[in-house]
């Protein structure tokens, strides 16, 4: 491998890790909802799209930086998630029907409404926020003059990645240390036990859906400086979230983080070495491989090691 090839590989890996960090955030929101509610939220990507439009709006109307919008879109999405859970999903849980997948189909309906509401409001145009630092980057040669290869680290990607890390750490703290967080974990682990322990499961479901939505909304704000925005973008990210969750192991938070990183790296490698258009196919290849060869996801590997078996 010559220097140029090493350069391409390293650059690809860096891009993969950065993307993976953001993917992890999307996956975490999905995993959280899946763990507590045992349903799949097919409007997940659309919620992210809503987060992105909030950030876009804030930027074009008031000049608010997308990274500041994390603190606006997060709470707004939390509220939206609560409304969806309280008035739609909870209602369906009480309806008797032949197919239990009604709840999943319901989230499809919600996603359709969100996506076309965005189309009505913003047309199907591609949009982006022209932030000042949009194309700036750190270069390896700035730090090390004699470097044989040149690597760059995009500033918005890096900042988004750091934000994702901070939010993940915050979530971890919330789940481990706060009473609400512990109740959420208890509900996810064993519904009956949680009920017996006096956890208000109904409330936890609502909070969890809000939290999952807030996470993916925040992820949307982190994506906006580096991604084009259009109303139909949600579906693609719903699938990404699902692939991450399967890859990581259903309902496992650590798994979702690792799953996000793996997927980010894999997509980045596919895009560089196979072709841009094939990155989504690579996504599904890894998804099917995970289903076939690692049904419990990365989390099952971790668990097996922990028990020494």
């Amino acid at each position: 491998m010559n220097a140029a090839q090493v350069e391409v590989l390293l650059q690809t890996l860096i891009a993969g890790v950065l993307l993976g960090g953001l993917y992890a955030l999307i996956g975490l929101g999905m995993t959280l909802i899946m763990g507590v509610m045992k349903i799949i939220n097919l409007a997940h990507g659309e919620l992210m799209m809503v987060g992105m439009y909030i950030a876009y709006w804030m930027f074009s109307l008031f000049g608010i930086d997308p990274y500041v919008s994390v603190f606006i879109a997060g709470p707004l999405l939390f509220f939206l998630g609560i409304l969806i859970q309280k008035y739609l999903i909870n209602t369906v849980l009480r309806v008797d029907s032949i197919l239990p997948e009604n709840q999943v189909i319901l989230t499809v309906g919600v996603g359709m409404i969100l996506a076309s509401a965005a189309t009505i409001a913003f047309k199907s145009d591609y949009r982006s926020t022209p932030v000042k630092y949009g194309t700036s980057a750190f270069y390896l040669s700035d730090l090390w003059k004699g470097s044989p290869i040149e690597l760059s680290l995009s500033i918005p990607w890096s900042v988004s990645f750091l934000f994702a890390l901070a939010i993940t750490a915050g979530l971890w703290f919330f789940l481990q240390r706060t009473d609400t967080g512990k109740s959420i974990r208890a509900t996810a682990q064993d519904l009956d036990a949680a009920l017996l322990m006096g956890v208000n499961v109904q409330r936890m479901r609502v909070v969890t859906f809000g939290l999952g939505s807030a996470l993916v909304g925040a992820a949307g704000c982190l994506f906006i400086p580096i991604y084009y925005l259009y109303p139909a973008l949600g579906g693609q990210f719903t699938l990404i979230a699902f692939v991450i969750t399967i890859l990581g192991g259903l309902g496992s938070n650590v798994g979702a983080i690792l799953g996000g990183l793996i997927l980010g790296l894999f997509e980045s490698l596919t895009a560089t070495y196979v072709g841009m258009g094939w990155a989504p196919v690579g996504r599904f290849v890894i998804f099917i491989a995970a289903l076939l060869f690692l049904p419990g996801g990365v989390a099952s590997l971790l668990r097996r090691r922990a028990f020494g078996k």
Binding site: I98, R303, F307, G308, K309
Partner: protein
């Protein structure tokens, strides 16, 4: 002594490194009623799941009719002549009582007419014939438990596994079910039963296996078990569900 129908040989079952069943061995002889008892969480249902194929034993073997069935799928084991009921009843909810039993009678019937015939006969046998058109979701618990038995019987098994078919029944239903179990035995069907009701167990079983913490702690006739100090100790602190 009559011929052995099923043998469990040194079976283990681990869940993520935790042992739910440890080195359990016993056999079931043709025509008898063998009861499996033990305190809550002792691993009784896990033993059932290992026997009927829902779980593959982590170690050890299960033999049925002279064949090693460890790792076979439940439907294959059922076809060989073993049927079971569930502790938490699993009726095919939106099907009528008759259709529930027809669905399982198809296992040994070539035509729909034949399946319906087997099903109706089974419903009469279990006293559910009057309820044949009721959607099974609407049955009271006692009858749902009996529907489980009817459904298992319609597969025409040689060995019937009953998982707490008496739990939650009122005294009248209890007597009725005991009668059904006795009549099943008279038909020559071997029965392996998990039960909490000590009175029922002592009244109907030929032999009893006791497990605690996933391990077998005793085996013998009802009289022997009642006198066994290890069993008494295992149940100490627990009420006797009598």
């Amino acid at each position: 002594m009559s011929e052995s129908l099923l043998q469990v040989k040194n079976a283990y079952k681990f869940f993520g490194g935790l042992a739910a069943v440890t080195d359990v061995s016993f056999e079931i002889r043709k025509g008898e009623i063998l009861a499996l008892i033990g305190p809550n969480g002792a691993g009784k249902t896990t033993v059932f799941n290992v026997v009927n194929g829902f779980y593959k034993p982590s170690r050890g073997e299960v033999w049925f009719k002279g064949r090693n069935i460890s790792g076979l799928k439940p439907h294959k084991i059922c076809r060989m002549g073993m049927a079971r009921t569930f502790q938490v009843v699993k009726p095919l909810q939106r099907m009528s009582v008759l259709d529930n039993v027809v669905a399982s009678a198809f296992l040994r019937a070539e035509s729909r007419e034949k399946a319906v015939e087997i099903a109706e006969e089974t419903l009469k046998f279990t006293g559910l014939y009057e309820d044949r058109d009721v959607i099974s979701k609407g049955l009271p618990l006692g009858k749902r438990k009996r529907l489980e038995i009817a459904r298992a019987l319609a597969t025409q098994p040689e060995l019937l596994l009953l998982d707490e078919s008496f739990a939650g029944l009122n005294p009248a239903e209890l007597d009725e079910s005991i009668g059904i179990i006795r009549r099943i035995k008279e038909r020559g069907i071997t029965i392996f039963i998990i039960e909490h009701h000590m009175k029922v167990i002592m009244a109907i079983s030929d032999r009893i296996v006791v497990i605690n913490y996933g391990q077998k702690i005793a085996e013998g006739s009802p009289e022997e078990i009642q006198a066994n100090p290890a069993v008494v100790e295992a149940y100490l602190g627990e009420d006797h569900h009598a």
